[in-house]
């Protein structure tokens, strides 16, 4: 609370210094000729405001972020003999409870008696004092630093002072900081994936994981239980992922590509203006909606269709196939793959359409003027020119298909099978990660850690696909720019 008030006060102070600096610069500009003042008055104001506000804000924020830790460290600096007699864990609980008493938060249910009782009461008083010291100290430091910043920056305002360059330099720093945040977050995610996977690979050898053909991530509750060791072979999961991706691409690639050709080469502007947004609405449907569409609508329709077909075949020359078809279940790779393909259509068509539109009109005119028909022009000139970009779009779609979770969770099933039969139930890497990590889990068993192994492998695969796709797009851009 105090932090927020302090930050608000600082903001107002900084705003005031802005007006202050601006006015001084304006007064100078009014006396001189145009161009006599190097930077516009606003930049001078901004410069002063930055000096007055930024360092002070950093101090207040640092106190808010690290004040608690500082307080805890100082509190532990000298501990009474009675406390030192406790175990490390006991000491940690003691100090946590002392701080909880001081700040009125939830303490553990440990009962302190005798020496410990007086010690914890002492420490609670000390914690309260330390907290106030840190907070007010930071506040005082903020005030001093803010005033010092004003004192440094304000006198610098002069007609020749390059306030604009300074302020713009700081704005560049802000941009860099934002970019670095995104990169660091990614690095952090990858690091955590690698770290947890490494822990997983200590209990399951990487080769067993990558090449094993049995997936049964059961871990015994007791060591004498029958299923004491689970099986962590990821091959069936990747096979299932691959099968569904293949079906999805068989649906999305031709439909997406052909609709892109229609949109960019044949559609009149009016038609295009209607059809393109409609296709893009398809891209806005949440995947969970596709998921229950697959599980509750498409699945039963497909099952019924196959069951009926099977019924017709039973007793005929294809009796075996008939029996198989009449027993097909709702959950099958075909349903999940087909619905995922529909989800990817706008992705493929929109990207390919943009890429084909980027092919210069002069090439089309050149081809048409040679007496080529529109279709010949598309086949011979537009598609070859757009091919690298289209390949990249398809690769991006593949990496989305591999990473897609909701549809397969709801429509593909949970049984790990290595099969290419689209009517069979399969499971994918993403589905397994979901089932491994949902619900109450202990976070140090191979069962939960295997999710990180799967995640890392998946990440590597999609990363490679994306890199290839982006490289292709880059090469393509160089050709036309």
């Amino acid at each position: 609370m105090l932090t927020w008030i302090a930050l608000l006060a600082l903001f107002l102070f900084s705003g005031a210094t802005y007006a202050f600096g601006r006015r001084k610069a304006q007064a100078m500009a009014a006396r001189g000729k145009p161009g006599a003042l190097h930077s516009l008055p606003g930049y001078h104001g901004g410069y002063v405001a930055l000096w007055a506000g930024l360092p002070a804000a950093l101090i207040v924020l640092a106190a808010a972020l690290f004040g608690g830790r500082m307080e805890a460290a100082l509190l532990r600096a000298d501990s009474p003999a009675a406390v030192q007699a406790l175990t490390d864990h006991g000491q940690a609980v003691f100090f946590d409870d002392a701080r909880a008493m001081a700040h009125g938060t939830q303490a553990s249910e440990t009962i302190y008696e005798g020496d410990l009782r007086t010690a914890i009461e002492d420490k609670a008083v000390q914690a309260k004092r330390l907290q106030q010291l840190i907070q007010y100290g930071a506040l005082a430091a903020g005030v001093v630093v803010g005033l010092a910043g004003l004192a440094i920056a304000y006198p610098r305002i002069s007609p020749t002072f390059r306030a604009r360059n300074r302020v713009e330099g700081w704005i560049a720093v802000l941009f860099i900081a934002c970019a670095v945040t995104a990169i660091l977050t990614t690095v952090g995610i990858v690091a955590s994936l690698v770290w947890e996977s490494w822990r997983f690979f200590q209990s399951v050898p990487p080769l067993d994981f990558l090449l094993g053909t049995a997936w049964d991530p059961q871990i015994a509750m007791r060591s004498d239980q029958y299923a004491s060791k689970g099986a962590f072979g990821a091959v069936p999961l990747f096979a299932g992922t691959f099968l569904i991706m293949l079906i999805a691409m068989l649906v999305a690639a031709p439909i997406g590509l052909y609709s892109a050709i229609y949109l960019s080469e044949y559609a009149r502007p009016l038609t295009r203006g209607v059809v393109k947004p409609l296709l893009e609405i398809l891209a806005g449907v949440p995947t969970v909606v596709y998921g229950f569409f697959a599980a509750l609508t498409v699945g039963p329709i497909f099952r019924e269709g196959f069951n009926n077909l099977g019924g017709l075949l039973v007793g005929g020359p294809l009796n075996g196939l008939g029996i198989y078809l009449s027993q097909v279940q709702n959950q099958m790779a075909l349903v999940a793959g087909a619905v995922m393909g529909i989800m990817l259509i706008p992705f493929v068509s929109s990207l390919s359409d943009d890429i084909m539109n980027a092919v210069p009109q002069s090439l089309r005119d050149g081809s048409l003027a040679m007496g080529a028909t529109r279709s010949e022009t598309v086949k011979q000139v537009v598609l070859p020119a757009a091919l690298p970009g289209i390949m990249a779009a398809l690769l991006l779609a593949v990496s989305r298909a591999i990473g897609e979770t909701m549809i397969v969770t709801m429509a593909a099933g949970l049984q790990a099978k290595t099969t290419l039969n689209p009517l069979d139930t399969v499971t994918t890497v993403t589905v397994q990660i979901v089932t491994l990590l949902t619900g109450d889990q202990e976070f140090d068993s191979p069962k939960t850690l295997s999710a990180f192994g799967l995640g890392l492998t998946l990440f590597v695969v999609t990363f490679i696909l994306n890199v290839i796709a982006l490289r292709i797009v880059q090469k393509y851009r160089e050709q036309y720019d």
């Binding site: 005119d365 007496g371 020119a385």
Partner: protein
């Protein structure tokens, strides 16, 4: 647009007549190849050409000149029906190629464009090899029946375009890797590979440097002995250098046309006079 026509009459300009076109007859071989009569072109509601009537002679270069937006490129695109590819464009009037109306329902624009080749302002080689660029028309129209024949056709076309010596040893490299002037000669080779009767050129040198321009102009001068060439140009000097007949367009109307020498030395219309002396444009 009737309103605009009224306007022009109000300003007292002479109504456009076929008489503005003086024939170019420098010998018996220059019969009329393209005969345009009362051509009007509309882009949506906007009229771009008004009653243009012009005769284009065979085996000669006809230059279309005039300030930007005067309709000279529009007229050029009527001849091979490239205006068909622009949504909302309508062409009225008669354009005859050897006496046949190109806008006739019986004429397939695809066949017409094989007879009337076109070279654009910006060189537009396809993203294919030099060889495939030149072979393009032959392939889509099925002009050759063997590989050797195709190779011979590519070679003669490149030679006619004056490019063979520069690319003979790199026929299978991308056409987009050539310089601007070479690319423009490559697309000329591509156009003449299908043996067209007419070659339309839409400011073919405007994206080129003076040296490349000079090469293209020489090439045009050589090609005129075999083809009927219509060239749109911004440069009056170029029109004077390469053409035998010149047509001056202004505000969508054909102001005056005739043998190039006469147009440049003795224009009949004051607007032509003003334009060629650089008073507007």
């Amino acid at each position: 647009m009737p309103a605009q026509r009224d306007d022009s009459q109000a300003r007292g300009t002479a109504p456009v007549h076929i008489s503005v076109d003086r024939a170019y007859t420098d010998g018996p071989q220059h019969e009329v190849k393209i005969r345009a009569r009362d051509v009007n072109v509309f882009y949506g509601d906007k009229q771009a050409l008004f009653d243009v009537s012009l005769d284009v002679p065979e085996k000669a270069v006809t230059a279309l000149i005039g300030p930007s937006g005067c309709g000279k490129s529009t007229f050029l695109r009527c001849i091979n029906r490239m205006n068909d590819t622009i949504p909302g464009a309508t062409v009225r009037g008669r354009i005859e190629l050897d006496g046949e109306d190109v806008n006739d329902k019986a004429i397939d624009p695809v066949i017409l464009r094989a007879r009337v080749g076109m070279v654009f302002q910006k060189p537009n080689p396809f993203p294919k090899t030099i060889f495939e660029n030149v072979a393009y028309g032959a392939r889509i129209h099925g002009l050759t029946s063997s590989k050797a024949e195709l190779e011979a056709l590519v070679e003669t076309s490149l030679k006619k375009a004056g490019l063979w010596g520069e690319v003979a040893d790199r026929l299978h490299q991308p056409g987009t890797g050539l310089s601007g002037g070479q690319q423009q000669r490559l697309v000329i080779a591509r156009a003449i590979a299908v043996s067209p009767e007419v070659i339309l050129m839409d400011e073919p040198c405007s994206a080129l440097d003076p040296i490349a321009t000079a090469r293209i102009e020489e090439l045009i001068d050589e090609l005129r002995h075999q083809y009927c060439i219509v060239i749109v140009t911004h440069s009056m000097a170029q029109a004077a250098r390469v053409s035998q007949k010149t047509a001056f367009f202004h505000l969508g109307k054909l102001v005056e046309a005739g043998p190039t020498g006469e147009i440049f030395t003795n224009p009949r219309d004051s607007r032509t006079q003003d334009y060629i002396t650089g008073r507007f444009g």
